[in-house]
């Protein structure tokens, strides 16, 4: 799952990016409003975390332009502006959520997860595909009651495919949602990670749940 963080206060920007990455999110970071708009328009983020007071272009300006161009990415406003008027203005401009600084990091994570569920139309934090069970809050995976230990990247790949259960997901889509903008592009890195993931989640004697659709991509579930 890929997040864009637009925050100009460096200590907060750095710590949030670190925490989100450790929570198995791919995170693009910028402290500049104009750059933030460019990132948001150029990529398909799952969630955008947006400060309001930003240099060059403020957060509400970014949001207005995104919505004006029918970019429906879920946006969480993260700001020190705490009045009811500010919150109403932020939500009326098109934000999906509003969190006032200072905040608990765990709450931010919970709100991001809620926005992810809303995007992929999952009500429950747990995704079940056959006998495969994914706890998207604890970031843990089981098959047949047996826990499967995944690396961060493998988990990100599995969660993204699980969020799009039953859909053929292209390699480009996978790349866009589990790799950050600054990651070194590689033609077969997605295939390699799909291979790693397949080895861990497939069981002998059980039907395959992660299948390759030749020339198109991958599909999780039937």
């Amino acid at each position: 799952m890929r997040i864009l963080l637009v925050e100009d206060y460096l200590p907060l920007q750095k710590s949030l990016a670190k925490g989100l990455r450790e929570a198995d999110f791919a995170v693009d970071v910028t402290g500049d409003g104009q750059e933030g708009l460019w990132y948001a328009m150029s990529n398909d983020y799952d969630v955008i975390i947006l400060d309001i007071m930003l240099p060059k272009l403020d957060g509400l300006g970014i949001l207005k332009q995104l919505r004006a161009k029918n970019k429906n990415t879920h946006v969480l406003i993260l700001t020190a502006k705490d009045t009811v008027e500010d919150r109403i203005k932020g939500l009326d401009t098109g934000a999906d959520d509003y969190l006032v600084k200072p905040f608990a990091f765990a709450e931010l994570l919970a709100r991001i997860q809620a926005l992810m569920r809303r995007k992929y139309e999952h009500k429950s934090p747990e995704i079940k595909i056959g006998d495969l069970r994914i706890d998207t809050v604890a970031k843990r995976v089981w098959r047949d009651s047996e826990e499967i230990i995944l690396t961060s990247r493998e988990y990100m790949l599995l969660e993204y495919l699980a969020r799009r259960e039953g859909e053929v997901v292209s390699r480009m889509d996978i790349w866009d949602h589990i790799y950050e903008f600054k990651s070194e592009a590689s033609s077969n890195v997605v295939d390699v990670y799909v291979g790693y993931l397949r080895k861990k989640i497939e069981k002998k004697g059980k039907p395959a749940i992660l299948q390759t659709v030749r020339g198109q991509g991958y599909i999780l579930g039937t």
């Binding site: 100009d8 200590p11 402290g31 007071m53 240099p55 060059k56 905040f103 608990a104």
Partner: protein, 469 residues
């Protein structure tokens, strides 16, 4: 302190009492004078009548008394008695009225040798008023005109009991009437004063209903008397100033809260993320170091806020001394010279080396440092910073100018406002809080000067006007 109502009542009633007493005294005096004048005229007529009835017999040197007592029965005695007594000039009694009986009237001489009035009490206890006249009786047979007539003294007195009774009644009547008038006046004054002061009560009620929560309220001016309208206007002006002051404080507090929230969020996020899992000591050290850096920035901001508060409450002690401006600017620049050199910024101090100003060294140093720090921060790469100064009619003008301006003329009006930042990115480093120029303006004003900002194309300049002394 007496209430306004009491003062007005006291004033009105005292005034009215004094007027009534004066009026009563005058009325009493006039009536009394008139009554006594009539009484005296009657006495005088009686005395003239009696004196005209006395004749001197030239041969026997006797006096004939032709006064008919029946025509004036009061001299015979009775309740409304009148008295007369006639003496020769050497004091020998000649005749007296029957009303005197064995008694005598006090003989007194007239002041002008013809007539004189006197009030006294008779031996029978009755108050009387008497006239004394000296006269020469008519001589019965004037054939022997060479004989000189004898001079006689006549005293005629009348009982004044009834007159004094009338005057006492007049006193009583005037006193009762005055008391009644005063009582009525008190009641009327009470109503008038209460009604007259009612608008004050209305204003007081309106003031009472205004609290810090509804400072937008104003005291209504309709139906207020002309005397209260200026007070109402001044109170409304005061409320306006109070509201503006509260609003400024509210905005300031909101800004302080806002500016503290961001570093607090940063610190909390650093700590939260550090605690999400077990880490090695280097990672914890790194988190602590980042937190410390945030704390240092917050401390700097709080220090500046405290300095603003101290300056505002007049707790900053200033010591004025002769200061050479050019060396002080050079000294202040030293702290930023390195940073400026990295950005290839050229600094020129064009202040006359001998130009001096009597001011507070610490305050002036703070002003110069803040302005030069800002200039070093926002001047474009390869740009230029200049300091200049010149004597003016009233003091000294010091100018700090730098290239790389991105502010509009309109924004220069706001650069000295607390927490105002021309570009939100200035807060990203956590070093700039939008307080530096507020502090500068405050200090300039404490030093008795003025400050303004100006932009011209890519030039931004600050002009400080300081008094010479």
């Amino acid at each position: 302190m007496w209430s306004l109502k009491s003062r007005l009542m006291y004033g009105m009633i005292s005034g009215m009492t004094a007027l009534l007493i004066g009026f009563n005294l005058i009325v009493y005096h006039i009536i009394s004078h008139e009554l006594f004048s009539q009484f005296d005229a009657s006495l005088k007529s009686a005395a003239n009548l009696i004196s005209a009835s006395v004749e001197q017999d030239d041969k026997e040197n006797k006096f004939d008394f032709e006064f008919n007592i029946e025509r004036m029965p009061e001299f015979a005695g009775g309740k409304k008695s009148a008295y007369y007594e006639l003496w020769s000039s050497d004091g020998v009694p000649i005749r007296k009225s029957p009303s005197l009986g064995n008694d005598d009237i006090v003989r007194f001489a007239s002041a002008d040798k013809t007539r004189s009035f006197k009030s006294f009490v008779m031996k029978n206890g009755r108050p009387v008023r008497a006239i004394a006249i000296s006269f020469q009786p008519h001589i019965e047979n004037d054939s022997n005109a060479a004989d000189m007539p004898h001079s006689l003294v006549l005293v005629v007195a009348r009982d004044t009991g009834e007159l004094l009774e009338q005057l006492r009644f007049l006193k009583y009547l005037l006193s009762i009437a005055s008391a009644g008038i005063l009582g009525l006046a008190y009641a009327v004054a009470g109503i008038v004063v209460r009604r007259g002061l009612a608008p004050l009560g209305t204003v007081a009620e309106q003031i009472d209903s205004i609290s810090e929560d509804n400072l937008k309220s104003r005291i209504a001016g309709e139906d207020l008397p002309d005397e209260i309208v200026p007070i109402q206007r001044k109170l409304n002006n005061l409320l306006e100033r109070l509201q503006a002051s509260f609003e400024r404080e509210r905005i300031f507090n909101a800004n302080v809260a806002h500016e503290l929230r961001t570093p607090l969020a940063g610190m909390r996020s650093i700590i939260d993320v550090a605690l999400t899992r077990y880490r090695d000591s280097e990672e914890y050290r790194c988190a602590l170091s980042e937190s410390l850096s945030v704390v240092n920035n917050m401390e700097e901001m709080v220090s500046r806020l405290l300095m603003l508060a101290r300056n505002e409450s007049g707790q900053t002690a200033l010591t004025k001394e002769q200061i050479k401006l050019a060396p002080m600017v050079d000294k202040c620049w030293e702290a930023f010279a390195g940073k400026a050199a990295e950005a290839e910024i050229v600094f020129a101090n064009r202040i006359d080396a001998n130009l001096v100003c009597k001011s507070d060294a610490a305050g002036l140093s703070m002003i110069f440092s803040n302005l030069l720090n800002n200039a070093a921060e926002y001047t474009n790469r390869g740009g230029r910073i200049e300091a200049a100064a010149q004597k003016t009619e009233h003091g000294i003008e010091i100018i700090f100018e730098n290239t790389g301006n991105q502010l509009t003329q309109q924004q220069t009006q706001m650069v000295f406002d607390c927490f105002w930042q021309g570009d939100a990115s200035r807060s990203s480093t956590g070093v700039h809080f939008g307080l530096g120029l507020s502090l500068v303006r405050q200090m300039v004003e404490l030093l008795g000067g003025k400050i303004r900002a100006e932009v011209s194309n890519d030039l931004f300049s600050i002009h400080i006007y300081l008094p010479l002394i």
